[in-house]
């Protein structure tokens, strides 16, 4: 056995060496505890660093500090944070009587982060880039007069006739083809923030200066970027932020969670892994917040152009059979069951709790017997249904749950799981004929039109791929969108609420809940006073602060 022993010795030495390393090499990446002016954030990195090409919440969260629109969202908690305030423009625009013409005036003497002066025509340039590059939010600018014609020219420098700017006076006039109160909400997003024409080429670019409390420095596009406070930034009403610097690093979510626990990160943009969540909630209560931000709804889509969901009774059956309590468990407890399509975040602009819920208490047990009876009566019993879902955790489990519901109410069912990157475009393609499955919506901006139009309207069906996975629109929705287009949503909240109820009554969708997003901080952050919970961006880093 001589050799065995000697190799064991070698192994033992190696192990001892490792332990030695543990002792000598203490935490190397512990950056957060030291510098009071710097916060380290773990994140899934932005889908792009080009403001017109971004789409994800993580990108908006970071870049809203770098690029400010003509108007912008108030940096405040709760409903106040959903309010529009002047940004690069010196005041809210004047709107013509027919509600089709908006006139802005930019603040005089404003400079970009590179020192270049801001001119009125930069806004038009941004809209051109957004349109020409086909950015994810480009559909929001398609209502501007001249945009379709601009696209047809295939010349990026062609004029958009609906936008006129005067660089001398700083005046910008935008004409819409039809009144649309969503317009201001849309141009308040990062994707419409003016950037200097000379430094914003008609191709994807990562070096575009902006106007914001912070300036971005991309150290490594797929691993790390840094936001530093912009010297001399001064826009009235917009906070300058309490940290000199945010160091944003890409990590896997389990790693991030562990690092926030260990105080190696001050904040993470993601939810702690479902695996660690119970522990985090129990042990670090004071560092942890749960909120339905940004406003969102999770539901199962039911394609009304294919059997069996073309029948109201079958759609109702699905609604009766869904058990939100079960789904809440799949969400690791982070789900608020609901019966409304609009999320509670729209209180005051359209949310009114539907009570009683036509399909029973969303917090109570399902009514499988009734659902079964409805399916049996419909004559479609035994039909095969394919349930679609995507790979992002816990969506496979959600999809599998819906499959089991389909089986329970009398269908044969199977699932189809795609990667989330290709999921929505696949089910949104009419040719796919996806029958039913997972979908959700996180509000782009706090306007009910952003909920009903892309998901349920006839207008959405003109796009391919569409987000109207029902592939049919409810006339009540179409009429409402048209009638309410010009109105400020807070003035017509009741009417939006009525549309919400009509959607639920018609069982266009099978809604089950609003997801609670978590914010998890290091122990030095003042979570009680500076949680930064934003109804638009989920988290507003410019509100973060340290404990006193």
């Amino acid at each position: 056995m001589g050799k065995v022993r000697s190799s064991l010795v070698v192994f033992g030495l190696a192990a001892a060496g490792c332990l030695g390393l543990v002792a000598c090499g203490s935490s190397s990446s512990d950056n957060s505890s030291g510098n009071k002016n710097e916060a380290k954030i773990g994140s899934v990195l932005p889908d792009s660093y080009d403001p017109v090409l971004i789409q994800t919440n993580q990108a908006n969260q970071a870049l809203q500090l770098v690029y400010t629109g003509l108007v912008t969202y108030n940096h405040a908690y709760g409903a106040a944070g959903a309010k529009l305030v002047p940004g690069v423009a010196e005041a809210m625009p004047t709107i013509s009587a027919d509600k089709k013409t908006y006139t802005f005036k930019i603040r005089p003497g404003l400079k970009y982060s590179d020192g270049e002066p801001v001119v009125a025509s930069d806004f038009e340039h941004t809209i051109k880039r957004l349109t020409y590059l086909g950015g994810p939010y480009s559909s929001f600018s398609s209502g501007i007069v001249g945009v379709p014609e601009y696209l047809k020219t295939k010349n990026p420098n062609a004029d958009i006739s609906g936008i006129t700017s005067n660089d001398k006076t700083g005046e910008i006039t935008v004409k819409l083809t039809a009144p649309d109160s969503k317009f201001l909400y849309a141009i308040a997003l990062v994707s419409s923030a003016p950037t200097p024409a000379a430094k914003s080429p008609f191709k994807s670019s990562t070096t575009i200066p902006g106007i914001g409390a912070y300036t971005i420095h991309i150290l490594n596009p797929s691993r790390e970027f840094v936001l530093t406070q912009t010297p001399g930034f001064n826009l009235p009403g917009i906070p300058k932020g309490n940290f000199n610097k945010f160091d944003v690093v890409k990590e896997s979510v389990p790693q991030m969670t562990q690092d926030v626990i260990d105080n190696k990160l001050d904040f993470m943009t993601e939810d702690p892994t479902g695996d660690l969540l119970p522990q985090v909630e129990a042990k670090y209560k004071d560092r942890f917040r749960l909120a339905p931000n940004p406003p969102n709804t999770y539901w199962f889509f039911l394609n009304q152009t294919t059997p069996p969901f073309d029948k109201l009774a079958v759609r109702q059956a699905v609604n009766y059979a869904i058990d939100s309590r079960a789904l809440k468990r799949i969400f690791g407890g982070r789900l608020q069951p609901t019966c409304n399509f609009l999320p509670p975040g729209y209180a005051g602009t359209g949310y009114k709790k539907i009570d009683p819920c036509p399909y029973g208490d969303p917090n109570g047990p399902p009514n499988i017997a009734k659902a079964k009876a409805l399916v049996a009566a419909s004559g479609d019993k035994g039909m095969t249904v394919t349930v679609w879902g995507n790979t992002k955790d816990p969506r496979p489990a959600i999809t599998e749950y819906l499959r089991s519901v389909m089986v329970a109410i009398g269908f044969k069912a199977k699932t189809k799981i795609l990667d989330q990157q290709v999921y929505f475009q696949t089910i949104g393609d009419k040719k796919t004929k996806a029958q039913a499955g997972f979908t959700d919506w996180f509000s782009d901006f706090p306007h009910p039109g952003d909920y009903f139009e892309p998901n349920l309207s006839a207008k959405a069906l003109a796009s391919s791929p569409t987000f109207n996975f029902e592939f049919k629109s409810n006339p009540v929705v179409d009429k409402g969108i048209k009638d309410l287009a010009a109105a400020d949503p807070s003035k017509v909240a009741d009417k939006w609420a009525a549309i919400d109820k009509a959607v639920i009554d018609d069982a266009d969708v099978a809604v089950y809940g609003n997801e609670l997003s978590s914010s998890f901080f290091s122990s030095r952050m003042d979570v009680a006073n500076c949680s930064g919970l934003s109804p638009v961006y989920k988290s507003d880093w410019s509100l973060f602060c340290l404990k006193k």
Partner: protein, 350 residues
């Protein structure tokens, strides 16, 4: 030249080893008739290998009995979720899945013997059904690999000329292809789009897709050594004799040469099955293998890996089953090789 670029995965396969052997075997005289009886006798004497062979049979039998277990012991099936149910455990009512989504651990009772997964499904039941899937893929894919290996190996080796050229060149391309990469690329693309060849349509979630991928990709590992052997066999007297008798090439290839390859094939078979099971697990972990909700050991491990903190048993249990099965196959296969490989004597005599 030998390499399993995916050495990570198929290595259970011992490709290196087999190829290293095959490389030398090319120069070796082909053993004469009827060593198989001798080999079997040798195998019978190898009690260790037989014991693991028996273990494998036992595991297969367990998986085959899945429906019986599901119906009579667990009272559920592989798909039924029990998310909002409670069970009585030691006189205490316990949630199958807690309010915050934590699944119950092993109960060591009939229901949820090994606990539940995140969808509130019985892990023990899924484990047995998953084993059926993994074994099905293992056997079917290995059969494809061996069949393709035989056909291409014999055709290329015996016919030579342009047939050999074409087959060898195709193998040259697949050979250095990063196997996992190819498997995952095919698996992912096919899982999205399904497979359509003429009137034949395979849906993306069909088991046929991983079976085909896992079966076809390693086929050069089988075809190459066989081709080498056939090259040598082609020149043997008995083949000459057959040719002189006026037998057609097909007849010669499959009734004269094929039987002489049997020992190589027998040696390969268990290792190929083991390898296919491992490859299934790897592909499923990358989302390119078996598609949910069908259970397989690979999919169960990959789901379990995400729940290590709240329920490590979700990954440990299917992993242990898989390791046990592959280990049994490998050790049994090793015994088979020792028995059938002419050099077996060299190995035991110092």
């Amino acid at each position: 030249m030998a390499i399993d670029p995916a050495a990570e995965l198929p290595s259970g396969l011992d490709v290196e080893e087999i190829v290293a052997l095959a490389r030398r075997d090319g120069d070796k005289p082909i053993t004469g008739v009827a060593p198989s009886r001798l080999a079997l006798r040798r195998l019978r004497r190898n009690r260790g290998a037989l014991a693991f062979g028996a273990l494998f049979v036992l595991l297969v039998a367990m998986c085959l009995a899945a429906p019986l277990y599901a119906k009579h012991v667990a009272h559920t099936d592989a798909y039924e979720n029990h998310l909002t149910e409670t069970i009585k455990l030691h006189g205490k009512v316990t949630d199958v899945v807690s309010d915050s989504g934590v699944a119950i651990g092993p109960t060591w009772h009939g229901r949820f013997l090994l606990g539940a997964d995140e969808s509130g499904r019985d892990i023990a039941v899924r484990l047995l059904y998953g084993g059926r899937t993994s074994l099905e893929i293992g056997f079917a894919a290995a059969a494809i690999t061996i069949l393709l290996g035989i056909v291409f190996g014999i055709l290329a080796g015996y016919l030579g000329g342009w047939v050999d050229m074409v087959i060898s060149r195709v193998m040259d391309v697949i050979w250095p292809f990063p196997t996992v990469l190819l498997g995952v690329a095919l698996g992912t693309a096919l899982a999205v789009g399904g497979l359509k060849i003429g009137p034949l349509e395979v849906s993306g979630s069909s088991l046929l897709i991983p079976i085909l991928i896992i079966g076809v990709i390693p086929s050069p590992y089988m075809a190459r050594p066989l081709r080498g052997q056939v090259l040598a066999l082609r020149e043997k007297e008995f083949v000459e004799a057959a040719r002189a008798q006026g037998l057609g090439p097909l007849r010669i290839m499959f009734s004269e040469i094929l039987p002489n390859l049997s020992s190589t094939i027998i040696v390969f078979a268990p290792l190929m099955v083991a390898n296919a099971i491992l490859l299934e697990a790897g592909l499923s972990y990358l989302g390119a293998g078996v598609q949910a909700p069908t259970p397989s050991w690979g999919t169960m491990i990959s789901v379990g890996v995400d729940h290590m903190v709240t329920g490590p048993h979700q990954a440990i249990v299917p992993g242990a089953m898989l390791v046990l099965t592959v280990l049994a196959l490998n050790i049994f296969g090793d015994g088979v090789r020792d028995a059938f490989d002419p050099r077996a004597k060299v190995r035991t005599v110092k």
